[in-house]
């Protein structure tokens, strides 16, 4: 090698005097010439106080194409210095004096020799598999890929321009826009001291603050585009920073002078220190478009007043700025403006929270009803991505037992869930996401009725986390609100979670989706035990959505995670959905999609009949299969006596002892009682017998015959005994005719195209 070299640290020593295991291992590996592409040169030791730093110097052969992007040579001399405590990656130096500036160099107090940044992972992670021998190959690969310009992969973000400062400052997310409006005062506070540097938090200050040195004022500078990875040093003074800006064909100092000239010359402002925020747009290669913006913050030791003087803006007389005519920048003294470089990081706003979550900002208004264990955890997860503008409705206060599964913590005991959740959700990112809360029960709001009405009216989506069927039904039917409804709840054993979400146009309402979900429970084997209650559990509610008391928190978290993702997905598409997640004993989860059917709703007399296309198709198919004879069966569903709605969810087809003739149908009863009872059990009592249906042959229409009238009378007798209304359907070739309450109170539903 004929290239001029730098000396490696320390003094040359014999290999057998090395004490560090890694240094020894590397030296022995090289001396034995096992790797044909690496040759030992010498071992060196430097003693710094109590520390003994051992260095191995060697030559490596680099796999090199004839055409290279950076001037790496076929053979490079390298030194590897091992930290005495084996607590960090060794320092790897390229000793060739004209080793080029390349990406992935470490910043050192001196520029040469250049220090190679070989590893992306932290030493604490990497050391488990790291051997002294492997570093030789890592260096060779590093050099080879660097030469090719391939080390920095095309999909990798551009690396920082300046390295080296370990201190971090958290800036307000909108600082750039703010500073454009004039001097922006910041209060910069040190919040913590970490082994790896200081953390400062910058907050806006409104108006002047008295007292010396308390505050900073922000100025910004937008540098012309800079090629990434070519500025591997840290500016220490304004003069250094000016050089960097001039290298990029900018002029920071003049820009700063212009800004300061326009600021009011008030004493509080002159006493502030400057927080100089510099934006460096970065391009991957010359001529490429700018693809990243690097921001650096430099806090000045001198005050704004002193800086203004050096920049020739004013002259201070006892701290009072006097006007200078034709003042010029005192370039000699730019060196006096010493800088404390800080790594800025921006407060997490919605934009970034969303992008870190891999989603887009979504500002839809969400009304969430129910901030229990599941609701609180879902809201907590959605807030992490800055999703939605929320209003919360709940009538509970936090009681000790809540904290076993709730998103919140015991120190908030006694607080209302809505207030506590607002506080929590508003603190997750750097901007509030909750717009309002209503501490009230949807079913019994009392004087809060209007408040609830207001938040529901404003909502783009109404999310029901109440675990209450009546609440879900009430929300489904509230006509004043336009927003899409969705309901998330768990089954009693806590093994499954369910998401029901209306379509964007609300053509199929939440209550219809609920009925379809019950029908699925009866038909899908995966849902056979959906409402089974774990024997040892203590049920303390009476609703089918009441979660057993012994449910572990991780199950709630698991289902909150699954459903929070699904809510986002459901709300971002137009269709309705019915989804069920079933966790088994091992917490393996099976996800079911139950295809939603279009809701069919008919006002029949005083009553509303709610069913869906799925049920009608089922009846239609049974009729077709029975032809030329008539057939029929019983209807399963439920009543909402308050809203005067009868829901038809499913049918049990003709029992085996039924008499099916071309002109008549007598529904048998063999095994029927068991089947109805089973339907009730399987749906936790949600589905019950509500009436009868039978078919008419082709060409006979759906008008009730004399016999049909008698059947209806019979149903009426039975139904009224229980306080319900009679329901009957006649299914013909083209339509199904529904009778509710009386035989004259009827509505047709078109059967549509065969599916």
């Amino acid at each position: 090698m004929t290239d001029a070299l730098f000396a490696a640290p320390g003094e040359s020593v014999a290999v057998d005097t090395l004490v560090g295991a890694h240094a020894q291992g590397l030296a022995r590996h090289l001396v034995r010439q096992i790797n044909p592409y690496a040759r030992f040169v010498e071992a060196r030791v430097a003693v710094e106080g109590a520390d003994r730093i051992e260095t191995i110097v060697f030559d490596v052969d680099v796999e090199l194409s004839q055409i290279t992007k950076f001037d790496i040579h076929p053979t490079e001399r390298i030194s590897v210095s091992f930290p005495p405590k084996n607590d960090a990656w060794p320092e790897v130096l390229a000793l060739r004096q004209n080793f080029p500036v390349v990406p992935h160099l470490y910043l050192r107090p001196v520029e040469f020799p250049r220090s190679l940044c070989l590893y992306e992972e932290a030493y604490s992670e990497g050391q488990l598999r790291w051997t002294a021998v492997s570093i030789v190959e890592r260096i060779r690969t590093w050099l080879s890929e660097t030469a090719q310009g391939a080390l920095h992969k095309d999909d990798q973000p551009l690396e920082p321009l300046f390295l080296g400062t370990r201190d971090t400052i958290v800036l307000p997310a909108d600082i750039y826009a703010k500073t454009a409006l004039g001097p922006t005062q910041l209060l910069i506070a040190r919040v913590d001291r970490k082994p790896w540097g200081e953390i400062y938090i910058a907050r806006y200050l409104a108006g002047g603050v008295q007292g010396q040195g308390a505050a900073f004022v922000a100025a910004t500078y937008f540098c012309p585009p800079v090629l990434h990875g070519v500025m591997n040093w840290t500016p220490q003074t304004l003069s250094d920073l000016q050089s960097a800006s001039i290298a990029a064909r900018g002029d920071l100092v003049t820009s700063l002078r212009d800004q300061l000239s326009n600021w009011p010359r008030e004493s509080w402002l002159l006493a502030c220190h400057l927080a100089l925020i510099v934006f460096f747009p970065k391009a991957r290669e010359v001529g490429h478009t700018v693809e990243a913006l690097e921001t650096r913050v430099f806090v000045t030791n001198p005050t704004v007043g002193e800086i203004g003087e050096i920049l020739g803006i004013w002259q201070l007389n006892n701290g009072v700025p006097g006007h200078v005519i034709g003042g010029t920048i005192d370039h000699e003294r730019l060196d006096h403006i010493t800088l404390v470089p800080l790594n800025p990081t921006f407060a997490l706003d919605r934009q970034r929270a969303a992008s870190i979550n891999g989603s887009a900002v979504d500002l839809r208004r969400i009304s969430a009803v129910g901030m229990g264990a599941l609701g609180s955890q879902i809201a907590n997860l959605l807030a992490r991505s800055g999703y939605g503008k929320w209003s919360l409705v709940d009538s509970d206060v936090l009681l000790p037992h809540n904290f076993a599964r709730h998103a919140l913590v015991h120190s908030l005991v006694g607080m209302s869930k809505v207030d506590a959740m607002k506080m929590h959700l508003d603190m997750i990112i750097a901007e509030p996401i909750v717009e309002g809360v209503v501490f009230a029960d949807v079913l019994n709001a009392g004087e809060k009725e209007d408040d609830i009405r207001r938040v529901l009216e404003a909502a783009d989506a109404i999310l029901d986390f109440s675990a209450s069927v009546p609440v879900a039904r009430k929300l489904a039917l509230e006509t004043f609100a336009q927003g899409r409804r969705a309901s998330v709840f768990m089954n009693p054993s806590g093994s499954s979670s369910i998401l029901l979400c209306e379509d964007a146009q609300r053509l199929t309402r939440l209550d219809s989706l609920e009925m379809q979900y019950y029908r699925a429970i009866l038909s899908r084997t995966e849902l056979g035990n959906h409402f089974a209650v774990v024997p040892r559990s203590i049920r303390y509610g009476t609703s089918c959505r009441d979660v057993s008391n012994t449910l572990p928190a991780h199950r709630v978290a698991l289902h909150a995670a699954l459903t929070s993702a699904a809510i986002k997905k459901a709300l971002s598409s137009d269709g309705a959905c019915i989804r069920v997640w079933i966790a088994d004993e091992e917490d393996a989860v099976q996800a079911l999609q139950i295809p939603p059917e279009d809701m069919i709703e008919r006002q029949i007399g005083d009553w509303k009949l709610v069913t869906d296309r799925g049920l009608l198709n089922k009846l239609k198919l049974l009729r077709l299969t029975g032809l030329p004879a008539e057939t029929g069966g019983v209807l399963l569903g439920t009543w909402d006596l308050t809203s005067r709605i009868v829901y038809i969810a499913d049918t049990i087809p003709a029992p085996p002892d039924s008499k099916k003739r071309v002109t008549s149908f007598i529904r048998g009863c063999e095994g029927l009682l068991d089947k109805v009872a089973h339907a009730g059990r399987a749906t936790s009592g949600m589905l019950q017998y509500v009436g009868e249906w039978h078919s008419h042959p082709n060409g006979f229409g759906t008008g009730p015959s004399g016999d049909d009238r008698k059947v209806f009378e019979w149903i009426t007798e039975k139904a009224t005994e229980d306080g319900y209304q009679p329901v009957m359907a006649i299914v013909g070739e083209l339509e199904a005719r529904w009778f509710v309450e009386s035989i004259s109170s009827q509505q047709n539903v078109d059967l549509g195209e065969a599916k």
Partner: protein, 380 residues
């Protein structure tokens, strides 16, 4: 990113280079199964196994082209034991339970057809080449077409009948274009010289010398395959090529050094420390080598003395090394790569950044699982 690959196998003083083109085509330049299976310390690679390993991994049983630059033993040894030969059933059955490898096309200099007095492996190759030329398929012969006139007439054929299968020096091999196949071949030798009276003189030592131009992502990489060409014809090649103003056909990113670094491919005298090349050859190595060029000596390690009259010659090696250094390049000896105690196949990758010698080193454990473990047992 297009990648072509050249593999030079460590075979002692013998040649075999495999070209793997980015489009999947494979070309072999010479074949010499030199390793002596009886000798455990033979560091030369087991060529047939090595080639089969590669063919198996890409599920092939043929090469697009197999060139025989000339019929010396160190360029053809074992050919009849590896390849499927069309001219005789004897060479079509299995070898050690494995199918023979087919040559879609065979490229030979005219001497392979016309030479008399062959007796062994060279005779078998001659028969195969003659058979293919007679059939008119699967062959390309390199010479002035008239050179083959007598032989063709003896077979009842005319030059016109076979002209499409014959390529003269100074031409590109038909059907190969750098922009399309990724490589084109310019023929330097065999060539004929016009004498003063206008007639042609054939050079009997006209082995097949090609200048290959590879193209990858628009970048060209030039490789000179020097076979065993001696200094006189090589000098003549340089002169002719320059006189025809085809300087770019002398430029090299890679040179397969002729005749295992024999001084006789540089100049008439060995020299004491360094061989002095002829003026034309000096032009070739001192003016036409490109930046970071690779000079490849397919040979035994370079000796430190002159005891062995056979190549490689240290004086020639010194010259080559000096020229490589001058271009920031390397002079590589196949039996010394990466080290003389364990030579490995020299692999050169050609991409849009031109040539790159692969320098992969497999550490202990990788090499442990790529070979059988020693016998383990509990005593006798």
């Amino acid at each position: 990113m297009a990648t072509h690959r050249l593999s030079f196998f460590p075979l002692g003083n013998a040649d075999c280079c495999r070209i793997d083109l980015d489009n999947g085509d494979q070309i072999l330049i010479d074949y010499a199964a030199m390793r002596d299976p009886a000798c455990k310390d033979d560091l030369r690679i087991d060529l047939p196994s090595e080639l089969r390993k590669d063919l198996d991994s890409c599920k092939r049983d043929s090469y697009k082209v197999v060139m025989f630059t000339h019929l010396d033993d160190d360029h053809i040894r074992g050919t009849s034991n590896f390849f499927y030969l069309r001219h005789a059933q004897k060479y079509q059955g299995q070898v050690d339970g494995k199918s023979r490898i087919k040559m879609d096309e065979m490229w030979v200099p005219a001497a392979v057809i016309t030479e008399e007095g062959c007796t062994e492996e060279d005779r078998i190759i001659r028969q195969e080449a003659r058979y293919r030329l007679k059939e008119g398929t699967g062959i390309r012969v390199f010479s002035r077409p008239e050179e083959l006139k007598n032989w063709l007439e003896g077979e009842g054929l005319s030059v016109a009948d076979r002209r499409s299968l014959i390529t003269d020096a100074g031409q590109l091999v038909p059907g190969w274009l750098a922009e399309i196949q990724g490589v084109e071949f310019f023929v330097h030798s065999p060539f004929a010289c016009r004498t003063d009276d206008g007639s042609y003189v054939e050079r009997n030592d006209g082995c097949l010398v090609l200048h290959a131009t590879f193209s990858a992502d628009g970048t060209k990489t030039r490789v000179f395959f020097g076979a065993d060409i001696r200094q006189e014809p090589l000098s003549e090649i340089v002169r002719i090529t320059r006189s025809k103003n085809r300087e770019e056909r002398l430029e090299s990113d890679i040179v397969k050094i002729p005749h295992h670094s024999s001084y006789l491919s540089l100049g008439p005298d060995k020299g004491t420390t360094k061989t002095k090349p002829t003026e034309d050859i000096a032009y070739f190595y001192e003016k036409k080598l490109l930046w970071r060029a690779t000079l490849i000596s397919t040979s035994k390690p370079i000796p430190t003395n002159d005891d062995d009259p056979q190549p490689p010659h240290r004086q020639a090696a010194n010259y080559y090394r000096e020229q490589a250094d001058a271009q920031g390049g390397t002079y590589i000896v196949t039996m010394e790569n990466p080290k003389a105690s364990s030579p490995e196949t020299l692999v050169i990758e050609i991409t849009g950044s031109k040539a790159k010698q692969k320098k992969s080193y497999s550490a202990g454990l990788v090499s442990a699982v790529s070979q059988p473990a020693p016998r383990a047992g509990n005593g006798d």
